[in-house]
C-alpha cells in the first residue's frame, strides 16, 4: 500500500526522495462520515473518510467501514491500518482489536 506519489517533495521541491515504511498506527486529524458515497463505495455507506496523522510522521487518508456515525469518531481518535476488502486504504479503531481472519 502506498501513501502518496511524487518525483519531488511537494513542500520543498527536492527530488532526492526515498521510500520509507510508515507506521500502521496513528490519530485522526480530520474526518467526515459520509451518508452519500462515491460510486465505488455504493454499498458501504455510511462510513468515515479520515485523514490520519501517523505515529512517527506522515499523513495519509483512508476509510473506516466500522464508523457509521459521527458519534463513533473524533479528532484524535486512535486508529490502525487494516487489510481491506477494497483497493483503498482502510483503517479501524485501535480499540476494535484484530480483524477476523
Amino acid at each position: 500500500m502506498t501513501a502518496t506519489w511524487a518525483l519531488a517533495c511537494p513542500r520543498c521541491g527536492r527530488a532526492d526522495l526515498e521510500e520509507t515504511a510508515l507506521s500502521e498506527r496513528g490519530a485522526v486529524a480530520a474526518f467526515t462520515v459520509l451518508s452519500v458515497p462515491g460510486d465505488e463505495f455504493l454499498n458501504d455507506a455510511p462510513y468515515a473518510y479520515v485523514v490520519v496523522e501517523l505515529d512517527g510522521g506522515g499523513r495519509v487518508t483512508g476509510w473506516m467501514p466500522s464508523v457509521r456515525s459521527e458519534r463513533d469518531i473524533a479528532i484524535g481518535a486512535r486508529v490502525r491500518f487494516v487489510p481491506g476488502y477494497k483497493p483503498g486504504v482502510q483503517f479501524a479503531k485501535e480499540s476494535e482489536g484484530a480483524p477476523p481472519g
Binding site: 511537494p10 513542500r11 474526518f31 467526515t32 462520515v33 452519500v36 460510486d39 473518510y49 476509510w63 483503498g88
Partner: protein, 384 residues
C-alpha cells in the same frame, strides 16, 4: 501592458437547460458580445471551458461556438481547471488582451449535467480530486470539504447554525437573481432538518448540480474607445495552485492556493482587502465561503463565521459576499461558475442587479477554486 476591460457579461438561468451545452454557450456568448457594443468579428480569440462536455459526446467545442457566432476563422481553445475553468479562461483572455496579442477575447463556460443521474454526476465531480489517494479511499467532493470543515471546527468550534447562516443568506440573494437555480429563501429550520450528506455538511450546505452557461467579453481600453456599458477594469488577474491532496499540505486550515492567489492579486491591483466593496467567492459548500473570506484576508482566521451570523456578509452588510446567491443557491455549472461570478459583478456595476443591489460598487473581487484548492483564480475589478 495594456488596460483590459470586461465590457460585456451574460448568463442564462442556471438549473436545467433544455438545449445542448454548445447551443447555450453560443447563445450567452452572442448576448455578451452584443451587450458590449462589439461585433462577433471583433473577437480575436475564444477561450471555452466545458469540463464535462464529453458526457454530451462533445469535445473541441470552441470551433462549434465560433461557427455558430459566424466567426469560424477565429482561433479557440478549451481551458480546463476543474471548477475554476472559466476564471482560468478569463485569466488567459486578460493575458492576451493586456499583452497586446488580441484586442478583444471571448470567455465562455458551459456545463450540462442534467442528463446524468446523481451518482454519475457525483462521480464526475470527484474526477477533479486525486483518484489514487483520495477517491479510491472513499472521498467524494462534499466529503473532502467536510473533512476540511472538521479540521476547522476542531480549532474553532462552530454551531451548525453558523454554516446555516451562510446557506440562508445565499438563498436570500439568489431569490432576487433571475439567473439563479434556487430563487427561493430558506429558513434555519429547513437547513437544520435537511439530511446529512457528509458530516458536518447537510444537503443545504452543498451547491447543487447545475446546467448553465456564462460568457464574458474582455477588450483593450484603447480598442473599445467609447464603451456602451460601465466596464469593469481588470485591476488584477492572478492564479495559484496548491498540493491537491489535503493530507500532504502543511496544515488543514483553509486553501493555500487562495492565500497565494490573493496575495498576488492585491499586489497587482495595489489595493488592500479593506478597499474592496463586495465579493463573489467560491462557496461550493458553506464552509468554503467561511474559509474563502479568511484566506482572502477579509477576516482573521476563525472569525468569518461570526461575520456571517452577524449579517456583515449580507447585501446590506459591511462586506457583501455572494450577492448573486453564490454557487450554493445560484447554482454551480462547474465550467460556467467563474464567468458567472463576473456576470454578477458586471450587473452590480451596471445597475442591472435589480432587487439585490449592494451599496457600494467601486471595486469587487471574484474568487474561484478548482476542486479542493489545487487551483485558484482571484480577479479584482474597479470602475474606470
Amino acid at each position: 501592458m495594456r488596460e483590459a476591460w470586461v465590457v460585456g457579461a451574460a448568463s442564462n438561468r442556471f438549473g436545467k437547460m433544455p438545449e445542448t451545452g454548445r447551443e447555450a454557450a453560443t447563445r450567452v456568448s452572442l448576448e455578451a458580445i452584443r451587450q458590449s457594443g462589439l461585433e462577433p468579428k471583433d473577437i480575436g480569440y475564444t477561450f471555452v471551458s466545458n469540463c464535462f462536455g464529453l458526457t454530451e459526446k462533445q469535445g473541441h467545442v470552441g470551433p462549434l461556438i465560433n461557427g455558430g457566432l459566424g466567426i469560424p476563422d477565429v482561433p479557440s481553445c478549451t481551458i480546463e481547471s476543474a471548477c475554476s475553468s472559466s476564471s482560468a479562461g478569463l485569466h488567459e483572455a486578460f493575458v492576451h488582451v493586456a499583452g497586446g496579442f488580441t484586442d478583444a477575447a471571448l470567455v465562455v463556460g458551459v456545463e450540462k449535467l442534467s442528463h446524468l443521474d446523481t451518482l454519475s454526476a457525483t462521480s464526475y465531480f470527484a474526477e477533479a480530486a486525486d483518484y489514487a489517494f483520495e477517491t479510491k479511499n472513499g472521498a467524494t467532493f462534499p466529503g473532502l470539504y467536510a473533512t476540511l470543515a472538521s479540521a476547522y471546527q476542531a480549532r474553532f468550534p462552530m454551531k451548525p447554525e453558523v454554516l446555516g447562516s451562510v446557506a440562508i443568506k445565499n438563498h436570500a440573494n439568489a431569490a432576487r437573481n433571475p439567473h439563479a437555480q434556487f430563487q427561493k429563501e430558506i429558513t434555519m429550520e429547513t437547513y437544520l432538518n435537511s439530511p446529512m450528506i457528509a458530516s458536518p455538511l447537510r444537503l443545504f450546505d452543498c451547491c447543487p448540480f447545475s446546467d448553465g452557461a456564462a460568457a464574458v467579453v474582455v477588450a483593450a481600453k484603447e480598442f473599445v474607445k467609447k464603451p456602451v456599458t460601465e466596464p469593469l477594469v481588470i485591476r488584477a488577474s492572478a492564479r495559484a495552485g496548491s498540493i491537491t491532496e489535503m493530507q500532504d499540505r502543511p496544515d488543514l486550515l483553509g486553501l493555500p492556493a487562495t492565500r497565494t492567489a490573493a496575495a498576488k492579486a492585491f499586489r497587482q491591483a495595489g489595493l488592500a482587502p479593506g478597499q474592496i466593496d463586495f465579493l463573489e467567492v467560491h462557496d461550493c459548500f458553506t464552509i468554503a465561503e467561511i474559509l474563502a473570506i479568511e484566506d482572502l484576508g477579509f477576516r482573521p482566521r476563525g472569525t468569518a463565521g461570526q461575520s456571517e451570523v452577524d449579517g456583515e456578509t449580507a447585501r446590506d452588510g459591511k462586506l457583501p459576499v455572494n450577492p448573486s446567491g453564490g454557487l450554493k443557491a445560484k447554482g454551480h455549472p462547474v465550467s460556467a461558475t467563474g464567468a458567472s461570478q463576473v456576470v454578477e459583478i458586471f450587473e452590480q456595476f451596471n445597475g442591472l442587479a435589480k432587487g439585490r443591489e449592494v451599496a457600494r460598487t467601486e471595486t469587487a473581487l471574484a474568487h474561484n477554486v478548482g476542486a479542493t484548492g489545487g487551483s485558484c483564480s482571484v480577479h479584482i475589478f474597479s470602475r474606470r
